[in-house]
Amino acid sequence: DAGVTQSPTHLIKTRGQHVTLRCSPISGHKSVSWYQQVLGQGPQFIFQYYEKEERGRGNFPDRFSARQFPNYSSELNVNALLLGDSALYLCASSPQGLAKNIQYFGAGTRLSVL
């Protein structure tokens, strides 16, 4: 079975632009979470979607938004990019999205903002 897939793998944008990152969860998983990982730090929680509804949001500005589609895939959108948005963006899926359940991560999208 395919794991969590993310696209694109790498992306270069300039300040002020908008970006859309995509994630396909493992088949049968209804929960998708997004994390931002800045170099040298652990991943930081951005959003979780479960059954197409937002279950929770981390401490990120409104420039960050996400949605989940009927097939449980998800998009993360970031508007008005800042240099500080440069990071590895990780998507994780799980059957129910509970933290005590195993979360399966994709390889991430490396975003560079110039």
Binding site: V4, S31, S33, Y35, G40, Q41, G42, P43, Q44, F45, Q48, Y50, R55, G56, G58, L88, L90, C91, A92, G97, L98, A99, K100, I102, Q103, Y104, F105, G106, A107, G108, R110
Partner: protein
């Protein structure tokens, strides 16, 4: 939310056993202890999870004392490919994983 404390880095040699201790003094009754491994430019990967006593799988062992205020991840006979960052997390019925800085384990030949 229980906070975890683990060493920033550890060095080892191939074939040795590596033990990483994580402190979680404020762990709650419903909390589980979970460890993830992360290689550069990859997403974290689940290693092991436990609630109390000892858990063992094909990759590692997790030792949890009776008071559950700490836990130790044991990696037997490490190889160069075990060089990675290891994260200790304490999870409740919450939906988000709270990662700290992790422990960078470097295995040398």
């Amino acid at each position: 939310l229980a906070k975890t404390t683990q060493p920033i880095s550890m060095d080892s040699y191939e074939g040795q056993e590596v033990n990483i201790t994580c402190s979680h003094n404020n762990i709650a009754t419903n909390d589980y202890i979970t460890w993830y491994q992360q290689f550069p430019s990859q997403g974290p990967r689940f290693i092991i999870q436990g609630y109390k006593t000892k858990v063992t799988n094909e990759v590692a062992s997790l030792f949890i004392p009776a008071d559950r205020k700490s836990s130790t991840l044991s990696l037997p006979r490490v190889s160069l490919s075990d060089t990675a960052v290891y994260y200790c997390l304490v999870n409740t019925n919450d939906y988000k994983l709270s990662f700290g800085a992790g422990t960078t384990v470097t295995v040398r030949a």
